[in-house]
Symmetry: C2
Subunit: 254 residues, 2 copies
């Protein structure tokens, strides 16, 4: 097994970092890796906001409802960015409405996600730790305000990066026999039965965020997650509209 | 610079592969990397359909409008998968409508994307080549039909994997000074002026798919891309609804 894969199999979320800043040459290497990430039709419709201002970090941590977010030495927000290409098009006298469409939105969203993971792999190869912040979407418009995001951009995911100051257990994941299908999707007859072993294994795991109690088994986590509804997260598409995109619904009726 | 990053900076899309199959133990390693990928709130709401059947490969190539898709030794389709967790919930007598919401859809979509990039980095570390297939979204419902995808799943991106049988040039990418912002988004005054060097550089690049002519400069590509509209791609959200998800619009008016 090569070193890249060894590190990938050793992946864990790191939420607490030492106070050491990441040297500039390493940050630059991460940016170069981000730059070399594949991009849908070459449009490079994603960008990174690197948040240094402690007040902005705190404001983002508040949206995420996680104090540790403000303490990350590097806090990067990855965004869909069609604004840049819209400006390029306009300067070329192209005002096509397609710049707002969901095809371009999802392409930019995909670009931003895969760029983030590419950065994660690069960071971990240099013994940095990372944590994904899907929680920035608890309030997308507040993130847009904090980062002064123009129309035709949208926040996708945040990433905290730094030198690890904790060594969490590796989190148990379900067997890939549940997640890989040959040629077509094949539902199981009985899921609770099939997940018994995994549920058991999850009980061996201690989450450092809540060290005083064992975590729920996986199937209980699924149910608890469904009951835990954050309205603004459910309504994300309303904010996508507010950022200037066209959802492209009802076209067939026109 | 370590080997992981050296390979990441050397990334290029590989569309033509030798006929050598990928040994089972290497495929299994790729699955294990996929398994270890970070996942939103631990829900693991993404899956992989590994397409072996030559007829299904051809049908997918037709959706992608690219013959080479059918020739990839490994063709994997990464999907949003809320079906599995919906079944788990139901067997636990939880019928919460939130399983259909856009929060869970986007979390699954993000999971699928970062899983794909993790696999790409693992594959490239073992000198395999890959190509991303955003083009499966040319017709999402046809992909659902080919792969027998149940409700509450959705195709995100395809990936061709194999041993490279071509050595394309590295594609020029825009400077990260255009894609990284400190603390807030800062629009430029004049984009065409700023992109002159990159436009020039793009002219040094030959795309192997169209070897007889130089590629357009980047700013021309942006305009051509906007004029090139594929209606089903613009209407992707209609198909998200067809797959059983609730877009969560107009909640404020209720």
């Amino acid at each position: 097994m090569n070193e890249t894969i060894r590190k990938q199999l050793d992946h864990r979320t790191i939420r607490e970092f030492t106070e050491d800043p990441i040297p500039k040459e390493i940050v630059d290497q991460l940016f170069q890796v981000a730059r070399r990430t594949a991009s849908s039709t070459g449009m490079q419709a994603s960008s990174i906001i690197r948040v240094n201002d402690p007040e902005k970090k705190k404001a983002i941590a508040k949206v995420c409802r996680q104090e540790y977010v403000a303490r990350a030495p590097e806090l990067w927000i990855f965004i869909v960015d069609l604004y840049r290409n819209s400006r390029i098009a306009k300067e070329k006298n192209c005002f096509a409405e397609s710049i707002r469409d969901m095809d371009r939105f999802f392409s930019g969203f995909t670009d931003a996600c895969i760029m983030t993971q590419n950065v994660v792999n690069a960071a971990e190869s240099m013994d940095l730790g990372t944590n994904y912040l899907g929680s920035i979407l608890n309030d997308p418009m507040e993130i847009c305000k904090i980062l002064n995001l123009p129309k035709l951009t949208f926040p996708v995911v945040g990433l905290g990066i730094g030198y690890p100051n904790q060594k969490p257990q590796i989190k148990p994941k379900m067997d890939m026999k549940f997640r890989v299908f040959e040629d077509e999707y094949k539902p199981l007859k009985n899921y609770l039965e099939a997940f018994k072993d995994y549920d058991q294994e999850m009980h061996t795991y201690y989450d450092l965020r809540d060290a005083n109690r064992r975590v729920d088994c996986f199937t209980d986590q699924v149910v608890k997650g469904l009951v835990n509804v954050i309205p603004k997260r459910q309504e994300i598409l309303n904010f996508v509209i507010e950022q200037g995109f066209d959802l492209g619904l009802y076209k067939e009726e026109e």
